[in-house]
């Protein structure tokens, strides 16, 4: 069976921006905020990452600057939501709206082009072949030979886990979502942790978004196409734990990779595939509500 391997390989690739976005979203979710701005933040990272790389000629610098810009945006979001006490969903929408407009405006301003912008002379993503891993039959082909980003994201996932479960910060963050009054009664301000959670989501989305565009060496309007929403589903399906995120992200990536194949080979309309993230999220949300309601009624 020759064809599964390319699908598995591309799944790992596809999974990475999703995993990164969901990692950041996990922090905000654990602090009790439903962060739908992941979509906009990813797009911001995608745009800034590729544009800064083009201008500076260095991928590292470009990505870092892109992350910085995305974190700045998430800081604005955090200020308006947490400090100015706004509805988190509406401000998230505002971010998404802002970024989709801003990227087009800037593309037009800088490159006189509102569509796909291809950048010449872009450095290629450094690909790593992991020595021992590459030799294992199926897994090796799946896991080795990826851009360095991907291995970085796995490292970050481990750091995520460490921070959440092995540092005081992680405990206080989780307490912010579970019982903010308990924190306040000890003199700790939950708002501080919510703010930092937003910044973290800016960081991970900045990195994840950059991967999307640097993979292509071009910026495509709306390249994120719902990935921010799937990141939320990944968080819920992964039971809000880092390891679960990995599994859920992989599942979605496999589905995505398969559907790319299916679109060519099986002729399913593109729109249906694009609608899947939203349908999935909807079903997951309803499922969770039913589950929560049943749990509630048993308890009372």
């Amino acid at each position: 069976m020759a064809y599964p391997i390319p699908i598995l390989h591309s799944a790992v690739n596809i999974m990475t921006p999703l995993l990164l976005a969901s990692m950041g979203g996990l922090f905000t979710e654990l602090s009790g905020m439903l962060n739908i701005a992941l979509e906009g933040l990813l797009l911001m990272g995608a745009f800034c990452g590729v544009v800064f790389t083009y201008y500076t000629g260095s991928m590292v610098l470009g990505v870092l600057l892109g992350i910085l810009c995305t974190m700045l945006l998430s800081a604005v979001l955090a200020t308006v939501t947490v400090n100015l006490k706004s509805n988190v969903f509406i401000t998230g929408l505002a971010v998404n709206l802002l970024v989709s407009g801003l990227t087009v405006v800037l593309c037009f301003e800088l490159f006189a082009n509102k569509g796909v912008v291809v950048f010449d002379g872009m450095p290629a993503l450094p690909v790593l072949d992991i020595p021992v891993l590459a030799n294992i039959p199926v897994i090796g082909d799946m896991l080795s030979g990826h851009p360095a980003f991907i291995y970085l994201s796995w490292l970050l996932l481990a750091v995520c886990h460490g921070v959440l479960y092995k540092t005081p910060f992680g405990f206080r963050l989780r307490a912010t979502g579970l019982h903010p009054t308990a924190l306040a009664s000890l003199g700790i301000d939950p708002n501080r942790y919510r703010f930092i959670a937003f910044l973290i989501s800016g960081f991970t989305c900045g990195l994840g978004g950059a991967m999307l565009t640097l993979n292509l060496g071009a910026f495509v309007p709306n390249i994120t196409a719902g990935k921010g929403w799937i990141a939320l589903v990944v968080i819920f399906l992964g039971n809000k734990k880092p390891l679960g995120l990995l599994v859920a992200a992989l599942v979605f990536a496999l589905a995505d990779a398969f559907s790319n194949y299916a679109q060519g080979a099986l002729n399913i309309p593109a729109d249906f595939i694009l609608a899947l993230p939203y349908v999935f999220t909807l079903l997951v949300m309803i499922g969770f509500s039913i589950y929560a309601k049943k749990k509630d009624s048993i308890q009372s």
């Binding site: 439903l34 604005v76 308006v80 400090n83 100015l84 006490k85 706004s86 509805n87 969903f89 509406i90 401000t91 929408l93 505002a94 971010v95 709206l97 802002l98 989709s100 407009g101 801003l102 087009v104 405006v105 037009f108 301003e109 509102k114 719902g226 929403w229 309309p269 729109d271 249906f272 694009l274 609608a275 939203y278 349908v279 999220t281 909807l282 949300m285 309803i286 509500s289 039913i290 929560a292 309601k293």
Partner: protein
């Protein structure tokens, strides 16, 4: 306190408007900054932005015309919000309502005007069903209607896209659109050469109807009490479960009606993604109007003005139309801030 009691309505109005005016001022300030940053001729850009839509009947009429779907959307969201429901599914509701109305209008052509009305109602019904579905999920399982309406809307938009580009496409034109509705169904233009149609009157009628429903009928009263204090409403014997679903249904229906009327008045066939952004603007209109039907018209005009100004600036200057979304996002950012709202509410607080 004595002051407030002497002119309670006026001072309340001033307090409410002050917050909104501040937000609008900030949004326009952002626009000015953008013009200076992005345009090589900021003065010209700003002139065309602020005065372009007003300079002749064509631009002015078009601006008024684009406010019409926003009025319907704003009414819809306001109605839902009064019952403490957030309808974020406007994009899908307006689009699916327009599509359904178009297809039905084509099919019901032989019935004449009654057919036209039926087709509009069919569009409203489909869109209302989508809204009502979110309300139902909330009533049954406490699922956030805010999120479900948004998700359903996104899925529906893609579905309608598929239908228009696929089975329902009119292959005789180069556009990705359905066939045209019968000529007899077109609404008359009232301000040529612009495309402002008599739909404007329908919009104003809709404002009256919603205002009447909310403030002068028993059902409107029950709806509002359910929204203000659900426990109190239940205590008084109101069927609060009904008012979790019905307002969402009506809200979607208003959006769908707006979509159908847009087709009858301006577009005449359902083009792919013709209504993109109307749903969000409807939401923004409702937020600015603070969910008061009477304030929806000025709020809708404001938004239509922003878009018309952007378009004008784009045509005559060197900026792109998307600055409108940047200005709109500033409004979205600030309009739900409790802190900003309280800044003007502090004096004479109760």
């Amino acid at each position: 306190m004595a002051d407030t009691q002497r002119h309670p309505r006026v001072s309340a109005l001033v307090r409410d408007s002050a917050g909104i005016l501040l937000i609008i001022a900030i949004a326009l300030a952002a626009l000015v900054i953008l013009a200076f940053l992005l345009s090589k001729t900021p003065g010209k850009t700003l002139w065309y932005f602020f005065f372009g839509p007003l300079q002749n009947t064509y631009y002015f009429g078009n601006m008024l015309n684009s406010a019409i779907p926003l009025i319907f959307g704003g009414l819809g969201v306001s109605l839902a919000m009064r019952s403490d429901n957030f309808n974020l599914g406007g994009e899908g509701q307006i689009y699916s309502g327009a599509f359904t109305a178009t297809i039905c209008a084509i099919q019901l052509a032989p019935l004449g005007i009654p057919g036209a009305v039926l087709a509009l109602l069919a569009g409203a019904l489909v869109a209302g069903f989508l809204g009502g579905l979110s309300g139902y999920f909330r009533m049954k399982w406490d699922t956030s209607e805010l999120i479900t309406s948004f998700l359903i809307s996104n899925g529906v938009v893609l579905m309608v896209n598929y239908l228009i580009a696929g089975p329902f496409m009119d292959t005789s034109t180069n556009l990705i659109a359905t066939q045209k509705i019968p000529e007899a169904f077109h609404l008359p233009l009232i301000l040529p050469p612009s495309n402002l149609s008599s739909a404007l009157f329908l919009a104003v009628v809709a404002v009256f109807c919603v205002h009447f429903y909310l403030f002068k009928t028993k059902m409107g009263y029950e709806l509002r009490m359910s929204g203000l204090n659900r426990q109190f409403a239940r205590y008084g014997g109101i069927d609060t479960k009904l008012y979790m679903v019905l307002p969402m249904f009506l809200s979607g229906a208003l959006y769908g009606l707006g979509g159908g009327i847009a087709i009858y008045g301006t577009y005449f066939s359902c083009m792919k993604e013709f209504s993109t952004g109307m749903g969000w603007n409807g939401l923004a209109v409702a937020l600015i109007a603070k969910f008061k039907p009477s304030a929806v018209i000025p709020a809708a005009l404001f938004f239509a003005y922003i878009e018309a100004g952007s378009r004008n600036a784009m045509l005559h200057s060197d900026v792109t139309f998307e600055i409108a979304s940047i200005v709109q996002s500033v409004v979205f950012f600030l309009v739900t801030s409790e802190v900003l709202q309280r800044v003007f509410g502090k004096k004479g607080d109760r």
